[in-house]
């Protein structure tokens, strides 16, 4: 970092301010990318007017529109829980950004248990979803919340196990340590195993974020918006749209960190080292976002039972096998 003498508190405040600006801006940009990528993949143009140039301000305009909307709390809702739920969903997403190494030294807090922190905080959001669904006093919201809870439990395991395998290979839970432990060719190493773990993580992440094809909790054709059916205005934005895009970006960043070598250049070639790690991280995260959206737009929604079967009968056994293989690789590999 730049050599300015600041106290630890001051540094922390600056870092938090950066996070607090980067995350919303990232979410807005992510929302725009989502609109545009989806539109073009479906042979449309997407937003073209807001802001003038190719509708660049569309998500901003959406945000302003929602900010002006009335904040309605249903009469029979549990008001305190209802009001709190969006924050319980959104704040953990913000917290996830704290431990992700954007560059070798550019990290809010390089925790020794960074990976553990990620996985633990990442699951808190499901409590918020449950709170929202339960307090809404709405059957769609409740069913959505229960689905969401079941899904998060089912898909947390593949994520945790694949992340555990990565930690085993790196020999550390520190995210900087994990990035440092990775080397060319990143996910292709160990051969096959890296890719399998990556795919496992990808599927789990998509389910955890309730992205299609795992969006049963908010299946709009059955459940309106699931747990967010009764929400309006800013609460809806923070609990649902904002959290969704911010969540997507942070999972892309986690995937980059765990599997794609984080801030390292994609090819170990001298001249490429000149490019700052932030840029590499940005490129890789963008690719991950693109990939997540691409998968999201490609596949139709699974049925609830298919989703559960897929998790419990296929993904979790697979992840256990992969843990075994990873252990074998560490013990007997080169």
């Amino acid at each position: 970092m730049i050599e300015i003498s600041l106290t630890a508190w001051q540094i922390l405040v600056v870092k938090l301010l950066i996070i607090l600006t980067v995350v919303p801006v990232g979410a807005l940009v992510g929302g725009y990318v989502l609109h545009k990528e989806m539109a073009h993949m479906q042979h449309r143009l997407g937003p073209m007017y807001a802001g003038g140039w190719h509708g660049w301000a569309q998500t901003l305009a959406d945000g302003i529109k929602f900010a002006y909307k009335e904040d309605i709390i249903p009469a029979s809702a549990d008001k305190r829980v209802f009001s709190l739920a969006p924050a319980v969903i959104f704040v953990p997403v913000l917290l996830l950004y704290l431990v992700i190494p954007i560059d070798r030294n550019l990290i809010v807090e390089d925790l020794d248990v960074g990976l553990f922190f990620l996985l633990a905080i990442g699951s808190v959001g499901s409590i918020g979803v449950l709170m929202a669904g339960w307090s809404s006093a709405n059957k769609y919201a409740l069913i959505g919340a229960l689905r969401s809870a079941g899904q998060l439990i089912a898909y947390e395991l593949p994520i945790v196990l694949s992340a555990a395998a990565v930690a085993m290979l790196a020999g550390t839970l520190s995210l900087v340590g994990i990035v440092e432990a990775q080397d060319w060719p990143f996910i292709l190493w160990p051969p096959g195993l890296g890719l399998a773990l990556f795919l496992l993580f990808l599927v789990g992440a998509m389910a955890e974020m309730s992205l299609p094809p795992f969006d049963m909790p908010v299946a709009e054709s059955e459940l309106i918006t699931g747990p967010f059916t009764e929400y309006t205005g800013m609460r809806f934005i923070f609990g649902f749209f904002f959290a969704e895009t911010a969540h997507m970006i942070v999972f892309a960043a986690i995937g980059t960190t765990l599997f794609l070598g984080g801030y390292k250049p994609i090819v170990p070639w001298g001249p490429l080292d000149v490019i700052p790690g932030v840029l590499w991280f940005f490129v890789k995260t963008s690719f991950m976002v693109f990939l997540l959206l691409w998968i999201r737009f490609s596949f139709p929604r699974l049925r609830e039972d298919q989703l559960q079967k897929f998790a419990w009968k296929f993904l979790i056994p697979l992840s256990l096998v992969l843990i075994l293989v990873t252990g074998a690789w560490i013990l007997y590999g080169p």
């Binding site: 073009h40 993949m41 449309r44 143009l45 073209m48 737009f297 596949f299 298919q306 296929f314």
Partner: protein, 451 residues
């Protein structure tokens, strides 16, 4: 793959696990980089095809308030108001003319389903398809567009497509048909413009008077159609024009028409055309007699005969067959026989694939009828041929043909092409009854030449 049995079976048919998923993703990726075909409408306008059916435009001066469009409209979305206006006579001693004046012509585009039947059905080319399509309104009531707006859209209507070389000119009888049923055809063309100018109901008696005379002249004028295909277009439109009340021209034209066959003495005059002419003429005259009482019409009648009188006398002088064989109903040929003979003559003049095709059709229809007739005869000797089998014996169609013969023939005459011709030939009594039940005579007559 711990999935459903169905899914496993489905997978077994596929190349491999996940290949389908990847294929789906590949499709999306391909579309991401494809050129986007979206036309950003308000800024960029689509290049519509020239004859796009956007909205229906009205050419107000062509509308005669015949109400056909309003009646045919499946949605009943056309509103027409009109009043009658009396025009001073064109010549001294003539009768004052009446005509319909269009007061309101509105189409409710909130109801209109753009079927285009009104455009199709309009006999006077008053309705057209326009390419205009941007006429949305904020209020559904404003979608009822009045004739001013409809007329504005006329400026966006493209001119009609040019006819091909040698095509039948719209509004004129087709060659073969004109030959087959000479008199009624020309009568039809003659009758229609009369309606264009004068209101239908008023003009009918007079028209009925002039039309048969025209028809008798037309038998002679239309005959050359068989042998010299280019000839008949000349006299035919003029005869049409005459009937609109221009008596002087009528006279001249009659002379021309009469002179025409004289120039071609080898033209054989068959009884069929004349007989039908007589039949229809007699009928229309009878009708006219019942309707003639008003004074101006009767003067018109008395004025014209001297001019017309020589025509029938002149024509037979040139042709081998004598004048006016007595129209005996029993002597009339069955329609298919008549058409068969016409086709024979046509093939003599010069055969074409269409003629051959038409001949084949006629032959087939004839054969079918023979079969049905034979069957009917075999099954029931005592009773005459059953109705549906439609043996068009001379006696059978006649009672019906009497009142409706002109209209039926006109309809056949107006529509072009060999199919139509054989269709009319083979349809027999059904066709006739259909025509008989289909509304007033003058509208039929006018419809024919225009469609």
């Amino acid at each position: 793959m711990a999935l459903d049995v169905d899914q496993r079976l489905e997978k077994a048919r596929r190349p491999g696990f996940g290949v389908g998923l990847l294929k789906g993703m590949a499709v999306l990726l391909k579309h991401l980089f494809k050129r986007n075909d979206v036309i950003q409408y308000p800024e960029v306008k689509q290049d519509l095809s020239p004859r796009t059916r956007g909205v229906i435009a009205l050419k107000e001066e062509n509308c005669t308030v015949c109400m056909l469009c309003a009646r045919e409209c499946p949605d009943w979305c056309i509103y027409i108001d009109s009043h009658k206006e009396t025009l001073p006579p064109k010549r001294e001693g003539g009768r004052p003319r009446k005509r319909n004046v269009l007061d309101r012509f509105a189409i409710d585009y909130a109801l209109c389903m753009y079927c285009g039947i009104c455009v199709e059905v309009c006999p006077y080319d008053a309705l057209f398809w326009s390419r205009e399509f941007e006429y949305a309104e904020y209020d559904i009531r404003q979608l009822t567009h009045e004739k001013e707006k409809l007329s504005d859209w006329m400026s966006t209507v493209l001119p009609p497509i040019e006819l091909e070389d040698g095509a039948d000119i719209p509004g004129l009888p087709t060659k073969a048909i004109s030959a087959a049923s000479a008199s009624p055809t020309v009568e039809a063309t003659a009758a229609s413009p009369a309606n264009v100018t004068s209101s239908a109901a008023e003009a009918r008696p007079e028209q009925a008077q002039t039309a048969p005379r025209e028809a008798s002249a037309a038998t002679t004028s239309a005959r050359p159609a068989e042998t010299a295909p280019d000839a008949p277009t000349g006299p035919a439109p003029e005869t049409a024009k005459e009937a609109s009340g221009l008596a002087e021209e009528v006279k001249e034209q009659q002379m021309d028409a009469a002179a025409e066959p004289a120039a071609e003495p080898e033209v054989k005059r068959d009884t069929q055309g004349t007989v039908q002419a007589e039949g229809s003429q007699a009928e229309v005259e009878a009708k006219a007699e019942s309707e003639t009482p008003s004074a101006p019409e009767s003067t018109a009648v008395t004025q014209t005969p001297p001019a017309m009188a020589p025509v029938p006398d002149q024509a037979p002088a040139a042709t081998p067959t004598p004048t006016r064989p007595v129209p005996k109903l029993e002597d009339l040929e069955a329609p298919e026989d008549a058409y068969g003979r016409v086709l024979d003559e046509q093939t003599k003049a010069g055969s074409s694939p269409q003629v051959a095709e038409a001949r084949a059709k006629v032959a087939r229809v004839k054969a079918e009828r023979e079969v049905t007739r034979a069957k009917a005869a075999a099954s029931q000797d005592a009773t005459p041929a059953p109705e549906p089998s439609g043996a068009p014996e001379a006696t059978e169609p006649q009672p019906e043909q009497g009142p409706v013969a002109p209209t039926e023939e006109e309809r056949g005459a107006g529509s072009a092409g060999p199919q139509e011709q054989t269709g009319a030939g083979s349809a027999g009594p059904q066709e006739q009854t259909g025509a008989g039940s289909a509304g007033p005579q003058e509208q039929k007559g006018t419809k024919g030449p225009n469609d």
